[in-house]
């Protein structure tokens, strides 16, 4: 199924699911349409047993999935969005922020923290699609920059799990500059010899794809994740043609050399710890490397 069709169906079923979470015990898989029981999905990391479709999971679930017991510390929690442009379309930006805060219980579209993954310490950022479509404004940029600075200071591997519609239009040029800010900080990580792993989940688009998401030393995609710079609708309108099946899917990215591995959620923790230990065991990353420039 194309991202577009999936998005049309998926968004509907997800919102329906949201509305009646208390009594709803099952959902239809956006991938194959099978009826899936939540109890079973929860046990199976919200991966469809029939078609391996990876349903969206919460930030808390990712923490549970990856972090060793009692190792998680959230960082930079107090940074929150304001409305620097006084932006208003059909709704005020400040109202959109308030609604997303209420919906997610978070300050913005990313949570940053430190934890251990199979005893290996990391600094990590996990984006949240439910907060204004995971869009990147000043807060997301600042939290990522600070998380990366923590990685340099603590001499730990950095990880970002992306899922985002792209830069946040309501902060216009400031959002755009977060692409430069996060990417410039990743240059500093390289100078310091600190490795960085990017994990692409469904969907990752726009300014997030065109900055930290595609700059990993290692890039991992979840199966079936759709990732691209331009959205499928924009491309279809530009070229005035339909897009091929599977366009911008994780498998498409693999074919075109844009990702290193496609990893099922079930194996993510172990694949990550293998990668991290490969990156850090060869030399002592606690020692600062000579600067490149």
């Amino acid at each position: 199924m194309s991202w577009l069709n999936q998005a049309k169906k998926g968004i509907k079923s997800l919102t329906e699911q949201k509305k009646d979470v208390p009594e709803k015990l099952w959902s239809k898989c956006p991938g194959c349409g099978e009826v899936l029981y939540h109890k079973e999905l929860e046990r199976n990391m919200w991966v469809c047993t029939g078609c391996n479709h990876h349903l969206r999971i919460s930030t808390d679930y990712y923490i549970k999935l990856l972090a060793d017991e009692n190792s998680w510390h959230e960082t930079h929690k107090g940074i929150r969005s304001k409305d620097p442009l006084g932006f208003k379309d059909s709704k005020k930006y400040s109202d959109r922020i308030a609604a997303s805060e209420k919906k997610t219980g978070r300050n913005d579209a990313i949570v940053t923290g430190r934890c251990e993954i199979n005893k290996l310490p990391v600094c990590i950022g996990i984006m949240d699609f439910d907060f204004m479509g995971g869009s990147m404004g000043s807060v997301v940029g600042e939290k990522i920059a600070r998380m990366l600075q923590d990685a340099v200071k603590n001499r730990e591997v950095a990880i970002i799990i992306s899922r985002s519609g792209g830069a946040r239009m309501q902060e216009s040029l400031l959002s755009l500059m977060q692409m430069a800010k996060t990417s410039a900080m990743l240059n500093r990580l390289r100078e310091e010899g600190i490795p960085y792993i990017s994990i692409l989940t469904n969907p990752t688009y726009g300014g997030v794809t065109a900055s930290y998401s595609t700059l990993g030393d290692v890039i991992i995609a979840e199966p079936g994740a759709f990732v691209g710079f331009a959205g499928p609708r924009v491309i279809e309108q530009t070229i005035n043609a339909e897009l091929p099946e599977g366009f911008q899917s994780a498998e498409f990215l693999m074919d075109h050399g844009m990702v290193d591995m496609i990893v099922s959620r079930k194996h993510l923790r172990d694949k990550l710890s293998d990668t991290i230990s490969w990156m850090v065991d060869g030399r002592d990353i606690s020692v600062q490397q000579p600067l490149r420039a």
């Binding site: 442009l85 902060e171 400031l174 977060q178 430069a180 240059n187 500093r188 897009l243």
Partner: protein, 323 residues
């Protein structure tokens, strides 16, 4: 230089152009008949400058968009010809092809050798198709990066011109990693051990613009625009109607004054009255002086300081609250 005779004027600048036309006609016929019309001409000229001031002091964001996209506005290649004394274009990304939406090459101002790189739009249908309307594919950004790395190896400063609606949204662009190409430029520009001076000369559209925009000095020309998405794109998503582009332009705060106020650029370069397109040479002269002054300043510091300052500048961008 292009023949502009058939290039249309914008509605709001027509009164000025018509008044100027009247002055020219009057002077021509007077000189033919040997009459003295200097008094009337000077009266009309005062009227022109008053009218220009009235119109150009009160431009709304949508008028800025029109000026930034003005078909007569100088493009990167125009500036290359006017700012520099000598230029040798360099082509290709060494991997896929030469992207005509981005031009670049070795350039000289007197003895000062630099690498100049910029988006290139066309001026008519034919040249716009050749230039893909200034919308680069991944190979365009990769060519730009190749040239910047070459500049770094030779210790030459980099000068970039930004003028693009955005990166090209196409199947091939996605297949070849449009996002990665832009992202890599952002990261690598942050670490280029040579001064980088950026001029947003026309349309600064989204990531495709920023891919040439990570510099020690970032300037916007007075009537250029810079935003996260084109006004039409923003209108299509948030207003569900591309025709609401003027509203989107207004909401997104896309002008040079806005960008300066938000801390996203270092300064604004004043354009001649009526806009850069009314006097290409004068605009180019401002850019030339700026390059000479900045290169002197930026080369007087150590590479480490230059890079630390560049990083700190971009790290400081963003407005948020903190508990």
């Amino acid at each position: 230089m292009m023949d502009f005779k058939k290039t249309p004027w914008l509605d709001f600048e027509k009164p000025i152009v018509e008044l100027e036309e009247r002055i020219r006609t009057l002077e021509d016929s007077a000189s033919l008949r040997g009459l003295d019309v200097s008094e009337e001409v000077s009266k009309l000229k005062t009227q022109v400058s008053k009218l220009s001031k009235d119109i150009f002091d009160n431009l709304d964001p949508w008028q800025r968009v029109q000026l930034a996209r003005h078909p007569r506005r100088p493009t990167t290649n125009d500036y290359i010809g006017l700012v520099f004394d000598k230029f040798q274009e360099l082509h290709g990304d060494r991997a896929f092809r030469d992207d005509a939406a981005i031009v670049g090459g070795m350039a000289w101002i007197d003895d000062l050798a630099v690498m100049v790189i910029g988006h290139q739009k066309g001026r008519d249908t034919k040249s716009n198709i050749f230039r893909n309307f200034g919308m680069a594919n991944p190979e365009g950004y990769r060519k730009a990066l190749r040239l910047m790395r070459m500049a770094a190896r030779s210790g030459r400063p980099v000068v970039t011109f930004i003028d693009t609606p955005g990166a090209y949204p196409g199947i091939g662009a996605e297949e070849r990693g449009q996002g990665e190409a832009i992202a890599r430029n952002l990261r690598e520009m942050a670490g280029m051990p040579i001064p980088i001076i950026v001029f947003v000369n026309g349309e600064g559209g989204s990531g495709g613009a920023l891919a040439l925009g990570v510099g020690d000095k970032v300037y916007m020309l007075e009537n250029s625009i810079y935003s996260v998405i084109s006004p039409e794109g923003c209108a299509a998503i948030l207003w569900r109607d591309r025709a609401k582009a003027a509203d989107a332009a207004n909401a997104m705060k896309i002008t040079a004054e806005d960008a300066l106020r938000l801390g996203a650029i270092d300064d604004i370069l004043t354009e001649p009255v009526g806009g850069a397109h009314r006097n290409h040479a004068a605009t180019a002269a401002t850019i030339r002086e700026t390059i000479i002054r900045d290169v002197a300043e930026l080369t007087s510091t150590t590479t480490r300081d230059l890079l630390d300052k560049r990083l700190d500048k971009f790290l400081s961008m963003g407005i948020f609250d903190e508990d």
